[in-house]
Subunit: 408 residues, 2 copies
């Protein structure tokens, strides 16, 4: 068991169950040590589903499965396991999905076409379908404790990531619960990350899908741990018809949608930040903002290059304000920058200005700040009006520990 | 002092001095501990010079200086220091080059327009021009020991990189000596690497430049340590008029050029491999070959993605044949690959075939091979006829050690 990240939140608030969803969590023995490793969500009334996928060209067969079922716009069951990614498992991996979904369909009276999967863990190892089937045959695992769902999907995560929020619409309480897991392969289109967001009022699928795309761009797509993008990244959002309105939502311009979106955005941003805070071996959260870029792609390219540079990340780990490495990372994008206009700020301190180290830089003060658990880095390119923000973590001995011994 | 890389060569052969070049090496106090850190090469007869530069958009002012002087096609002095990159040092950094070149010009009677610089070390710190000037005033440092030149340019290198070869042309012995340094920020267009190649017969500058470009593409541009590209990467090649032919070389198609090129290629390939062998914290040399790609960019993109993936590199460090991470790294390029056609070989063993782990894989044998100091990884994409080779090293605790504490 990995020691909890020093960047973990002190408390996780109460995680609310979502009306209309039954949650089952299991220990299916997918790890050597007994732990929660399998979750089943059953959606008891009409539930819309939206999903975004990794861009990896060698993705898990679970995502092919879901993409097909997504056309049916509704979800009745979601099965999530950790310990095995069901990726590059050949026809056997695909067959396992058929068998498991058939079993769940028979047992819980759901349509196979409305069964979704998500898997995370080792790529290429035989998918443990028998362990999963034997476990699902048990009936005793229904729970109201939704934090356990977040626990069951952890891999090298050191703490569960979950949040619930409420909002009032037409005098009715709408509840949103989100869970996610990281914590390596975190870049640039999501991560080895799974994210699940559950809402208890019905939103039509086409609107839900657009909402999700936009939310993911503003959260999970902005973070990076190591620049490695997973074969299994996915975020699924469901909206259950438990709280109903007099007039149904039928347009993305509906004011209720903007209210719901306002509640969803902090949920996905929170979960994304937790993934960075639990980045493998992380000792520091680094908030990077690129400002005054010529255009958006330039801002993004530079922010990501700095965020993913092993040399920048190890310097942050070592509390070393070695801003030369930031300059290096900007330069390696080949983006033309006027050195005289570039300004680099670490925390509130100006570090680089006028093409050199800032003359009034207080190095002692800066070094002290570098030892903080949370660092703000701002790069002002002095070119135009575009900006981009990303969050990352530092690169420590423990990242190597974890990943050199992942399977041993 | 860092412990010598376990991948260092057992012996470095005799490094030959090149006729027509005087070498001076100094301890200028550019490091806290006394060591060689400054080298001056004086070219006593007409010498052609070629140079290739980092593509970084924020490069060292030494490279701007050299690019200007390269127009004059000849070199009379080359000054190389370690300990400070003279990058992002503002006008002061540029002024230092003027002062130092003026001094060298006066003392050694060379043209300022034929003085070249190369620097490597920390970016952004004040350039130590006084230490360098005071040191150059000494006269006692002339040496025939060219290995010392390789020693003086080391930064986090754990061993000097140097090689000499000979070839016979028209019954005359042509000598080539090359030196280089690594060993972080090694990607994709050279590295924090400096390379210097000296030849003792005259080749016209335009031919020398074309030769160098081609040689670098086949050696230094193919290696990667951490995906970080330096602000200071450069390779300089000089050809001195010490051995003369009856008929001068005037065409790149001259058969003497192909003979010289045949001798140069192993020199640059050797130096490039030594840089990988001395990659920061390296414990394994990994030779990656991508075959049967649809086109060259695809082959290169996939080779580099695998070579630079922190998760792949840490798995190799941990002797873990976790081929799923190789699949992940291929997938994150978004290159479309048919999983059923993809074959992965580690050493002589087939690891992946027919869209899954190879059925006859002998895992025990593979694990044993994974513990070797040199690993061959071959990816057959099953698409077309293009291939690409790259060399990299693994990612160890020591990389983090070195880079978290580089300046402390």
């Amino acid at each position: 068991m990995l020691k909890k990240s020093p960047l973990a939140p002190k408390n996780i608030g109460k995680i609310k169950q979502i009306k209309g969803i039954d949650l089952y969590v299991y220990s299916a023995g997918l790890y050597n040590k007994k732990r929660l490793d399998l979750a089943l969500f059953l959606f008891k009334n009409k539930t819309s589903v939206a999903e975004v996928f990794t861009k990896s060209s060698l993705r898990s067969c679970t995502l092919d499965w879901n993409e097909k079922n997504l056309k049916n716009k509704e979800i009745e069951a979601l099965i999530v396991n950790s310990g095995n990614a069901n990726t590059f498992t050949g026809q056997a991996g695909i067959n396992a999905l058929t068998k498991i979904s058939n079993f769940v369909s028979n047992k819980f009276k759901v349509s196979v076409k409305k069964v979704f999967f998500a898997s995370t863990g080792v790529i290429g190892e035989k998918f443990p379908e028998k362990k999963i089937l034997n476990t699902l045959k048990k009936d005793k695992s229904k729970t109201n404790n939704w934090l356990q769902a977040a626990q069951s999907i952890m891999t090298t995560d050191t703490f569960p990531k979950a949040i619930s929020v409420k909002t009032m619409i037409e005098n009715k309480t709408i509840t949103i619960t989100g869970i996610a897991k990281g914590s390596g392969m975190i870049e640039p289109n999501m991560a080895t990350m799974l994210g699940f967001i559950f809402i208890d009022c019905l939103i039509p699928q086409n609107i839900l899908q657009k909402l999700l795309k936009d939310l993911v761009d503003k959260s999970f797509n902005q973070i990076t741990v190591d620049g490695d993008e997973s074969t299994n990244d996915t975020v699924i959002m469901t909206s259950t018809n438990s709280v109903s309105f007099k007039n149904k939502i039928s347009s993305i311009k509906d004011r209720r949608i903007s209210k719901i979106k306002n509640s969803l955005l902090p949920v996905v941003k929170y979960l994304a930040e937790q993934i960075v805070r639990d980045g493998e071996g992380a000792t520091k959260l680094i908030n990077i903002k690129v400002e005054s870029a010529k255009n958006s792609p330039q801002a993004k390219r530079i922010a990501k290059a700095v965020a993913n540079s092993p040399l920048v990340k190890t310097a942050f780990y070592g509390n070393d304000p070695n801003w030369g490495r930031i300059v290096m990372a900007i330069g390696k994008t080949y983006e033309k920058i006027d050195p005289k206009k570039l300004k680099i700020y670490i925390g509130k301190q100006t570090v680089v200005a006028n093409g050199a180290e800032y003359k009034k830089l207080n190095l002692q003060k800066l070094k002290k700040y570098m030892a903080s658990k949370e660092i703000d880095l701002k790069l002002d390119l002095g070119q135009g009006n575009y900006s981009y923000e990303t969050q990352t973590c530092d690169f420590s001995h423990k990242y190597v520990d974890i990943n050199a011994a992942y399977r041993t």
